[in-house]
């Protein structure tokens, strides 16, 4: 569908007129509006929150949040309003129960298992070298002053 450009652009013909939203509430409530808005997915955009989206329809949705906040509705009630319409899809941060726990715990589990493997590796190694009576890597002898040791370390880094 191609549209010929209309002459009187200032009237916005042929294009979606961009509407302005309601006036912001008082600071504390408005902060809540924005925080909730960040969590809700805009219905007509592509994966952006209604707080971030420049789309006019997103402003309408944000206005709804404003309205509900002004009525002193709780966070849960406000989320429920949107979930009733769009399902969990509308939450940019998924819930924690059920299959979603894979999403939340998966990375944590990976990190945990990885750390255990790394620590076990070094423990096993330490145990093995202790059993074999292997000398410590740092040579024994008069402890060098820290500055010298640092320089020595840098030197070792460079030489190898």
């Amino acid at each position: 569908m191609t549209f010929a450009l209309l002459v009187s652009l200032l009237l916005g013909q042929g294009y979606a007129p961009q509407r302005q939203g309601l006036d912001p509430l008082e600071a504390e409530k408005e902060a809540r509006v924005m925080r909730l808005g960040k969590q809700l997915r805009c219905a007509v955009c592509q994966g952006v929150s209604i707080a971030d989206s420049p789309a006019s329809m997103a402003r309408a949705q944000l206005d709804k949040v404003r309205e509900l906040v002004a009525e002193n509705k709780s966070d849960e009630e406000i989320y429920a309003y949107f979930i009733e319409r769009y399902g969990e899809w509308v939450l940019l941060q998924p819930t924690t129960g059920g299959l979603n726990s894979v999403l939340w715990l998966g990375p944590v589990a990976l990190l945990g298992v990885g750390l255990i493997i790394i620590v076990m590796q070094s423990k096993r190694r330490a145990a093995a070298s202790a059993a074999a009576g292997a000398p410590a890597t740092t040579p024994a002898g008069p402890a060098p002053t820290s500055d010298d040791a640092l320089l020595a370390q840098v030197r070792a880094d460079l030489e190898q």
Binding site: L11, G12, P17, M57, G87
Partner: protein, 173 residues
């Protein structure tokens, strides 16, 4: 452990491919709609022709077709005659309401004057009705039963009256 690794890896690959494969044919832009089977939210907005307040409740007992649209949307314009045609056919049995949102009154009035219109056109200046109905694009058409229950919406333009007929059957019973 040694032999388990590759098996786990292959299983994960299998799952990944399965999930990606299942995704074909689904539309990533499709927005879920959960108001199906629920009571249609009431509204109170004015008609474009005579500035009268219109509510949904005043039509209780009759099936309702709600069409959300805007003049800047090409498919909505294309759909306009199809809806007009359908209205003529179902005029006696059902209520047709157009709801214009994300638009301004002048544009809409001009468009309607040029293209002709029959059933009431309402104006939703702040898109509040659209938000209440979980609209996720234009045009969208809602079918509401006599009892005021939403029986599905069509989130695409109608290109043929037959498409409306199929939907009407559901709410006319």
């Amino acid at each position: 452990m040694k032999r388990l690794g590759p098996i786990i890896a292959l299983a994960v690959i299998g799952l990944l491919i399965f999930v990606l494969f299942k995704a074909f044919g689904t539309d990533p832009h499709e927005v879920p709609f959960l108001l199906n089977g629920k009571a249609a939210p009431n509204f109170k907005i004015k008609r474009l022709d005579n500035d009268q307040e219109v509510t949904l409740d005043q039509f209780k007992g009759r099936p309702i077709v709600l069409n959300f649209w805007a003049t800047w949307c090409g498919p909505c314009k294309a759909e306009h005659p199809v809806l007009e045609y359908a209205w003529k056919k179902y005029e006696k049995d059902a209520v047709f309401l157009g709801i214009v949102f994300e638009d301004n009154e002048q544009n809409t009035k001009r468009f309607l004057a040029e293209n002709g219109w029959t059933f009431p056109q309402l104006f939703d200046p702040k898109s509040t009705v659209a938000v209440d109905y979980g609209v996720s694009g234009v045009p969208e058409t809602y079918f509401i039963t006599r009892e005021g229950i939403i029986q599905g919406k069509v989130a695409a333009p109608f290109s043929h009256p037959m498409q409306i007929d199929a939907r009407m059957k559901g709410i006319l019973q």
